[in-house]
């Protein structure tokens, strides 16, 4: 099947505006602005069952319909902070097929009545941002952005904004705080961004990949989109595949593809042909999936991964083989979370440090049972008490790693 999102793999130079135009680019946006009511656009997206690709898999059309029409102005924000260890899909999209993402943003902005949209982009992507700024300028020049688009009354400007290297700024409310010029700390939710977002105004925040799906949905219709993937999760997903894999990289595949196909057909299998021991499907924030044949044959969508006791998240699939000890992996993830905890709330600020401290000593070879028990305990103690999901993420690999791979911690295997 031809790519839907990573279209540059078939169409060279689609990152140039005339090539994008020639391949049907901006047709959907024009169509929406000229011939559709904003609510119709939202209805089509709702009908397509598109779910957010940023991690939570929240239905996109529904999110747009929550926008509060009693408060103005509205904003649209693209979450291009992509900082999850193991995630590198948004970067490829922005780099190689930027106009599809930008057009998706524009359609979304029209649908929710936003005249200003921001791209909040990971600080390390500063070179990419400069290119993106040029792309936006080209769109303005050709009349795809600016005042009174396509002869209508609708106007739209898009701006980029560079982050400063904090993982937490991928969390949507921390992102908004940072965009407002404050320290990037998550807000208490509710209220959620569609009612209280940027500068306290109704705001839609979506992931880059989510936006990139939108032009084709408008163009080809909701039914076309639903015909791809599974009933639970429509469409395709870009899997960022990494770990002990022969051919790491981004793979765009329909939902419902099995782990076996992803790893062996697309990823070329495991280095040295070793067996898969564990899978982390959502980057460092994952629960550890203990892999067996049944797992490998699981068709991947949000619901089925949940049945495996994990979450798909942003589909940053890290494959772990039997050469890797899980205590090493969780030490790595904890180093990351301890470094990235924003410190706003007590359990995560103190808990990530404490866990990291313990796992350091456990990994250093001192696998004392009481330390492992304590580590497990502290993770459990953090759960359900943190202000935002980062704190919860930090505990995932720890709890499931110790529960599902006790031998890696010199613990007796529990039956």
């Amino acid at each position: 099947m031809a790519h839907i999102l990573l279209r540059h793999r078939e169409i060279p130079r689609i990152n140039e505006i005339d090539i994008y135009e020639k391949n049907g680019g901006f047709k959907a946006f024009k169509q929406a602005v000229k011939n559709m009511e904003p609510t119709e656009v939202t209805a089509v997206v709702k009908d397509s069952s598109l779910r957010g690709r940023g991690g939570a898999g929240f239905p996109t059309g529904m999110k747009w319909s929550f926008i509060d029409n009693n408060s103005w102005p509205h904003y649209v924000v693209a979450n291009a902070d992509e900082s999850e260890p193991g995630a590198f899909k948004d970067r490829e999209l922005i780099e190689s097929n930027p106009f599809q993402f930008l057009e998706g943003m524009a359609i979304s902005s029209y649908a929710v009545g936003a005249n200003i949209a921001y791209i909040y982009i990971r600080g390390e992507f500063w070179e990419l941002t400069a290119t993106l700024d040029e792309k936006i300028a080209e769109m303005e020049k050709l009349g795809y952005l600016g005042n009174k688009l396509f002869g209508s009354d609708y106007s739209l400007k898009i701006y980029t904004h560079l982050g400063a290297g904090a993982y937490i700024c991928g969390e949507e409310t921390a992102l908004l705080e940072s965009l407002e010029g404050k320290r990037g700390l998550p807000r208490v939710r509710p209220p959620f961004p569609p009612s209280f977002g940027l500068y306290g105004k109704p705001t839609v925040v979506n992931n880059v990949e989510t936006f990139a799906n939108v032009p084709l949905i408008i163009d080809k219709g909701a039914d076309w989109f639903k015909s791809i993937g599974t009933p639970d999760s429509a469409g395709v997903k870009i899997f960022s595949l990494s770990g002990r894999i022969r051919k790491p990289g981004n793979y765009e595949l329909p939902f419902g593809t099995t782990f076996r196909e992803l790893i062996y057909e697309h990823g070329g299998g495991i280095i040295e042909g070793r067996p898969v021991k564990a899978i982390m499907a959502a980057g460092a924030s994952s629960s550890m999936i203990l892999v067996d044949d049944k797992v490998l044959d699981t068709p991947i969508d949000y619901a089925s991964v949940r049945k495996l006791g994990a979450d798909l998240g942003s589909a940053s699939v890290i494959v772990i083989d039997d050469t890797v000890s899980i205590d090493w992996v969780i030490n790595k993830t904890l180093n990351f979370f301890e470094h990235e905890s924003c410190g706003k709330c007590t359990p995560c600020r103190e808990g990530t440090y404490w866990m990291q401290h313990l796992s350091q000593s456990i990994h250093a070879g001192n696998k004392r049972k009481q330390d492992v028990d304590l580590l497990y305990n502290v993770a459990k103690q953090m759960q359900n008490k943190c202000l935002c999901a980062l704190g919860e993420f930090a505990t995932m690999a720890v709890v499931t790693g110790i529960e599902r791979f006790p031998q890696d911690f010199n613990l007796e295997v529990r039956e």
């Binding site: 904090a166 208490v188 924003c342 410190g343 007590t346 359990p347 990530t352 103690q381 943190c386 202000l387």
Partner: protein, 816 residues
């Protein structure tokens, strides 16, 4: 629209408005949910996670909108799978909150354990120990033992000066951000911030100079640990050694309710001394806050320079004497002078002192003169602010007009409350001849040239946009001061303001009326009791018997020093051996107000009680008692044995005080938020008010009487002529006054005497910022350091009062 909802917390049913947070509803039901970051006067942030409780809500049938009932006909409750923060969740109908359930208690214990992992637990040497929320909550909810590895403890700086008044201990900080949020949300001065992230988070000051806010001390009260301490109290005493006495701040006309904490200590030679000043809640006056001047400038009371014995001039030398011979001589001399007696007193004295002084002057047929450079009190006395006025009730639809006052420097807590009313939507109009810190929060800033004060007020009676905002407001209050003005100018200004209020109908009701931003705490009281300033004081002193109480005219004004030398007899009653005292025939040592009982009348005309905190020094006596002793020898019957009796007499003879008594002033009604009880963490270590909220006096306007307000011309103000430099006085919070300067650690904030010039004026004079210049006018000469202020006009120079340069009203000066 708010509506009442009914919910159940730990089995207790309670009705509260639907915009109430669960944590507040619980508090109202008498249940203390533990908190650290939540503070009832700030937006909830859900940071510390200490307030985790279980919350259930009735399951609602989506189609009918009705609760789903179970077999017993009771609503089916849906509990969230995880505990929720009581400080960020609003109540709802039928809600069930469990603060003591297994899971809630477990969660609270867990959070304490987390907090303690980075806490040094140096309670034995911590100032907060004994009144520390973390300590209390650990005892109540925490685990008995830590499982944390000791080698992972914080090792951080323990003495970081955020400013010269506040010290931060980084190890103790639990990053609740109360201090940062207080500065941002309450004070409107974002001078603190959190730097870095995660466990590296650290409180920093982002202002120059450090922690540049006159409200900084409040952060030490609301800090739930000993991370923030004051330079003043740091390592000074343990909280449990302290006794407390209710009082009123004597530093400005706001009349903040305070508590003096005292201790008898070896360090002070076995004497009882004041160790610190804490706010005492009065939601109508200062809420739970005080300013740094009120908190820190109390040290004058224990100054070594205090007078402790009466002195009598013999052979041109002042020699100690006995009370009886001192008062005998005074009585004799005043009796001889009769109607040629002048009682010159200041608003530093209590109502009781002033009442006795006025009675004495009346008895002799002499004159009671208020020593002040600000006029207009007659009108404030008659109009005042309507009974029941409370800045906290002002917001949307109301207006506040501040003219010729730098509230931040003159009456900081009014500045704070006016600013907060503006935050709530009140239209704030700030008029001044220069920029002040209130401008930032104003809807309208009016900049006038010095001399145009009256005109500016009259314009507000017009039809312009600003005038409309004022006249159309539901409620409106005018605060006038003496920024750039002397006695005459401020009197005219007050008259103009009174006229404006009357024309626009903003008198005689709560949240309407006139407030004078007086230089002294009890100036309002002095006006109420019939004291008046004298336009030309120097002229009337010659040949008179002058009884000067709580004032130092000889120091303030060379002309008065000269005039006093020509007086027939001078008796000075004071705390210190002032320049005026040096000219006296008799000096009588008075007690500070911290050493005796009494009352002050605030600028909002609220009579409030203060209570003795420490024993009197040496042989010193309360002012009212000294006056009564003198009067007795003149056969004038006054009360002298107790301030209660003086006040009874006062209430019986001064109309607006009718019906008041000490008992009445000591009454309290329940205030919200509830603070200072067992869980002092809820509102900080602010004291609960159990000793009286005071009573606002009824004014003639309140009674519906017509107040006759004179007309006032708008061209009387002093303006600089061409090529003249007109120096005008302004007020600085920290000045060299006798009640501030003895507090040594304030020296930096007091700074040098300055003269602010417009850049053009500075250029013309060939001087620049930071340069020391010579200033001369009339027969005064002095020096000052040049400051540049672009917001004033070129012909005007600003000189702060009580800093050594005797500028009392606009005066033409020469600068070299």
């Amino acid at each position: 629209m708010t509506k009442q909802v009914t919910l159940t917390i730990d089995g207790i049913q309670i009705d509260v408005p639907d915009e109430t947070l669960v944590v507040d509803a619980a508090k109202k039901a008498g249940i203390d949910i533990p908190v650290f970051c939540y503070h009832p006067k700030m937006e909830p942030v859900g940071m510390c996670r200490m307030c985790l409780v279980e919350i259930g809500r009735p399951m609602i049938n989506r189609s009918t909108g009705q609760p789903v009932l179970n077999e017993d006909g009771q609503p089916t409750m849906q509990f969230m799978p995880k505990p929720e923060t009581a400080c960020t969740n609003l109540v709802s109908e039928g809600m069930v909150v469990l603060t003591q359930s297994e899971s809630a208690k477990e969660a609270q214990k867990d959070i304490i354990e987390f907090l303690l992992t980075s806490h040094p637990l140096d309670c034995p040497i911590c100032d907060k120990g004994g009144e520390c929320p973390l300590q209390n909550l650990t005892m109540e909810h925490g685990p008995g033992k830590s499982r944390f590895l000791f080698d992972g403890k914080f090792k951080m700086e323990k003495q970081i000066r955020l400013g010269e008044l506040i010290v931060l201990d980084r190890e103790r900080c639990i990053i609740c951000a109360r201090c940062v949020r207080f500065q941002e949300e309450v004070a409107g001065q974002a001078v603190l911030a959190i730097d870095d992230r995660g466990r590296g988070s650290e409180i920093i000051s982002v202002s120059e100079p450090g922690f540049d806010s006159v409200f900084s001390g409040n952060t030490t009260d609301i800090c739930p640990v000993g991370a923030l301490t004051t330079t003043d109290f740091r390592f000074g005493a343990r909280p449990w050694e302290l006794l407390s006495a209710a009082s009123i701040c004597g530093q400005c006309p706001v009349g903040c309710n305070i508590t003096f904490n005292t201790r008898r200590e070896a360090k002070s030679a076995g004497k009882v001394v004041i160790k610190r000043v804490m706010p005492r809640q009065n939601e109508q006056v200062n809420e739970t806050w005080i300013c740094d001047k009120g908190r820190f400038a109390y040290h004058y009371a224990k100054s070594k320079e205090r007078l402790s014995k009466p002195l009598l001039r013999k052979d041109d030398k002042l020699k100690t004497t006995s009370w009886s011979s001192a008062t005998k001589l005074v009585a004799e001399k005043l009796g001889e002078a009769g109607k040629d007696t002048i009682v010159l007193a200041s608003g530093r004295l209590s109502n009781e002192d002033l009442f006795n002084l006025k009675s004495l002057a009346d008895g002799l047929g002499g004159k009671a003169v208020l020593y002040t450079e600000m006029g207009g009190g007659d009108l404030v006395t008659q109009i005042g602010v309507g009974q029941g006025t409370n800045f906290s009730d002002m917001g949307q639809g109301d207006a506040i007009f501040v003219i010729a006052s730098d509230l931040y420097e003159e009456a900081p807590i009014w500045w704070l409350r006016v600013k907060q009313a503006a935050d709530r939507g009140a239209k704030l109009i700030v008029a001044n001849s220069r920029e002040t810190k209130l401008d930032k929060f104003a809807n309208f800033v009016v900049r006038y040239s010095n001399g145009d004060e009256v005109k500016t007020v009259q314009d507000l009676g017009g039809t312009g946009k600003i005038a409309q905002a004022f006249s159309k407001a539901d409620n409106a209050i005018v605060l006038f001061g003496s920024d750039g003005l002397g006695l005459e100018g401020s009197t005219h200004l007050a008259t103009a303001c009174a006229n404006l209020l009357e024309e626009t109908g903003h008198i005689g009701k709560a949240n309407n009326g006139l407030i004078g931003v007086w230089p002294k705490a009890n100036d309002q009281g002095a006006w109420e009791l019939g004291f008046h300033p004298e336009p030309d004081l120097a002229a009337i002193l010659k040949g008179k018997a002058v009884y000067i109480v709580g004032a130092d005219p000889a120091n303030d004004n060379p002309a008065l020093a000269k005039a006093l030398k020509k007086a027939k007899f001078v008796v000075v009653q004071d705390l210190f051996r002032t320049a005026t005292a040096e000219l006296a025939d008799v000096i009588l040592p008075a007690q500070t107000y911290t050493e005796r009982d009494g009352t002050f009348t605030s600028g909002e005309r609220r009579a409030q009680r203060f209570y003795a905190a420490v024993p009197g020094l040496g042989e010193s006596k309360p002012d009212y008692a000294i006056t009564s002793e003198i009067a007795e020898k003149l056969n004038i019957q006054l009360e002298g044995t107790s301030s209660v009796l003086v006040f009874e007499k006062l209430a019986a003879s001064v109309k607006d005080f009718a019906g008041l008594s000490y008992a009445k002033l000591a009454e309290v009604t329940e205030q919200w938020p509830i603070v200072g009880r067992g869980d002092l963490y809820y509102g900080g270590s602010t004291y609960e008010n159990t000793q009286g909220l005071g009573v606002q006096l009824v004014s003639a306007s309140d009674r519906g009487e017509t107040v006759s307000i004179p007309k006032v011309r708008n061209d009387a103000g002093l303006r600089p002529k061409k090529d003249e430099l007109l120096a005008v006085p302004i007020t600085k919070l920290y000045d060299r006054g006798t009640t501030v300067a003895p507090t040594e650690f304030l020296t930096e904030r007091i700074g040098d005497v300055t003269i602010a010039l417009h850049p053009e004026a500075a250029k013309k004079l060939g001087v620049e910022a930071g340069k020391r210049v010579k200033i001369s006018f009339e027969d005064v000469e002095g020096e000052a350091v040049v400051k540049i202020d672009e917001t004033i006009s070129a012909g005007v120079a600003l000189v702060p009062r009580s800093m050594g340069l005797a500028i009392r009203e606009p005066v033409v000066i020469k600068v070299q």
